[in-house]
């Protein structure tokens, strides 16, 4: 009962003191808001980069051409063999007729050349999708070992370079997000320290009249929580509106259809939750650490 009353009282007092110490509250809310906006931008960018790389990676496939003399039974068996390879996600058959049709549509020159030939010069094939593009080469090498496989191509060199660039970009965006979160933590920590420093006489009085450490800390922890949450409101609004507007203005993609953006709804929700949690956590931890300093004798 007593503990509950102390808890409720702390909650009330923390709420009041956000307004009583208005200018310091504004300072730490502003500081939180600015850094959280940066965090939000970093998360949005990194999410979209990931999204684009995923999509591009999905289009990286191995084209396997079969020997001309392969029977349809052999081809059928081969599909089963491919599917046994651990990195293989999906195997689709593409006959030489399909290739021919596709190529004839592609350009008029090809069209006339191919229709001039009486026999289809192309080969039956399998399109192999992999689970992890990092092992594209290894998988291709395994496929090449089968007898009726004439060739297995995946754009050696170029594809590998693209994959390694994707990996680097992912790592860089992750590092930026983490660095920004740390900067936020540091900045908010400092403003809260300032807030609590200005109230050390209040803490001293609390100690003097016999307030338990728990009852001293609690209002400050709530206050840190409130300031952190309030500080995340503006960044959340900016994130939600900013991203939705940007998405519809850009029609869902950057530069070309290849670079499509993540759909707003769930991303914006997710970023908002992350921002509130960062704000609240940093606020709580910051004030807890700052107030603890004044509780030592």
């Amino acid at each position: 009962m007593k503990a509950i009353r102390i808890f409720l009282r702390s909650f009330r007092e923390a709420f009041k003191s956000v307004f009583r110490n208005f200018s310091l509250s504004v300072a730490s809310v502003t500081c939180t808001a600015i850094t959280l906006v940066l965090v939000s931008i970093a998360i949005l960018v990194s999410y979209n980069v990931n999204h684009v790389t995923k999509k591009l990676e999905n289009e990286l496939t191995i084209v396997v051409y079969l020997e001309r003399e392969a029977t349809s039974e052999q081809a059928q068996n081969l599909k089963g063999e491919f599917e046994k390879i651990s990195n293989v996600e999906e195997v689709t058959y593409k006959s030489k007729e399909e290739w021919k049709f596709e190529m004839m549509n592609y350009s008029p020159t090809l069209n006339s050349t191919l229709s001039y030939l009486s026999e289809n010069p192309l080969l039956d094939s399998y399109i192999v999708k992999v689970k992890n593009v990092k092992y594209l080469r290894k998988t291709a090498e395994k496929i090449r070992k089968f007898e009726i496989v004439r060739s297995a191509e995946f754009g050696e060199g170029t594809v590998e370079r693209i994959v390694s660039i994707f990996e680097t970009v992912k790592k860089i965006t992750l590092v930026i997000v983490i660095a920004l979160v740390l900067v936020t933590a540091f900045l908010i920590n400092n403003t809260i320290k300032l807030t609590i420093f200005s109230r050390r006489s209040e803490i001293e009085i609390m100690r003097l009249v016999g307030t338990s450490n728990y009852a001293i800390k609690l209002p400050f922890i709530f206050e840190g929580l409130f300031l952190g949450i309030i500080g995340s409101i503006i960044p959340i609004i900016l994130t939600v509106y900013g991203y939705i507007i940007a998405y519809s203005k850009l029609d869902g993609h950057l530069f070309s259809k290849m670079v499509s953006l993540v759909k707003p709804f769930s991303l914006v929700l997710y970023v908002s939750i992350v921002l509130v949690i960062i704000g609240a956590l940093v606020g709580v931890i910051g004030s807890y650490k700052a107030v603890r300093k004044y509780l030592k004798v």
Binding site: M1, K2, A3, R5, I6, R9, R20, S201, E202, E204, I205, M206, R207, L208, V209, G210, T211, S212, N213, A215, I216, L295, K296, V297
Partner: protein
């Protein structure tokens, strides 16, 4: 019965200043004791040892059966709830009313509002400040602020009231009023009073036990003492 016992107390601050040296002292329940001596002689240090703001470098401090120097930092509040402290510079919460300031020690310890109210009003009545319950500290005179402090110090009904130069900022007339309040607390509630003061007039008029300190050493401890007697020593 003794309430306070100091045995072989030494206090050296981290900067090397020795504020108290071999202090031995016993104070009984219900006593009224003055502590006098020149500035910097260690009076406030002695008080701080009693409410565990400082720990002695050596020796035992016992207050109301609690071994103060062994008290864990986390448990200090338990000692503080058993005593009241007032200072020269009041130390009120500036953004809270007189009532809220006096209620503060009770509400932070989780007491029910319905229990707090009669206690606060009683304490405010005892110090003669029932009319100004809703005033903020900056709307009160120095004497009135000190009355609020006294009310806050006694609202827990402590056995011991520590006063470190409570009249240091007040003129003689108001000082006398404050002394009357403290004296009545001693008489009505039986609260033990330890008061550090520079005011010879007060000490001479009250005729209580007087302990003189000089350079961190107790030089005199006289029942019904006077300021002059001690100084001539």
């Amino acid at each position: 019965m003794k309430l306070i016992s100091l045995k072989n107390i030494y206090k050296t601050y981290p900067n090397g200043v020795t504020a108290l040296a071999d202090v031995n002292l016993e104070i009984a329940k219900g006593e009224f004791v003055f502590i006098i001596g020149p500035t910097g002689c260690g009076k406030s240090t002695l008080m701080k040892l009693l409410y565990r703001e400082e720990k002695p470098t050596r020796g035992n401090v016992i207050v109301g059966g609690i071994n103060v120097e062994r008290l864990r930092n986390r448990k200090v509040y338990k000692l503080r709830r058993k005593l009241g402290i007032i200072f020269q510079n009041y130390r009120l919460l500036p953004k809270q009313t007189a009532y809220e300031n006096v209620a503060f020690p009770l509400s932070v310890s989780g007491m029910k509002d319905s229990e707090i109210r009669p206690k606060v009003l009683k304490a405010l009545e005892l110090v003669g400040l029932k009319e100004k319950v809703k005033c903020f500290p900056d709307e009160l005179s120095g004497g009135e602020q000190q009355r609020v402090c006294i009310a806050r110090a006694i609202v827990n009904e402590p056995k011991l009231l520590l006063c470190d130069e409570p009249t240091g900022n007040l003129d003689p007339r108001v000082s006398k009023e404050i002394m009357d309040v403290i004296d009545s607390i001693n008489k009505k509630l039986g609260t033990t009073i330890i008061m550090v003061t520079h005011d010879a007039q007060i000490v001479n008029r009250m005729k209580k036990r007087v302990i003189s300190i000089n350079n961190g050493v107790i030089t005199n401890d006289i029942m019904k003492g006077k300021y002059k007697e001690n100084e001539s020593n």
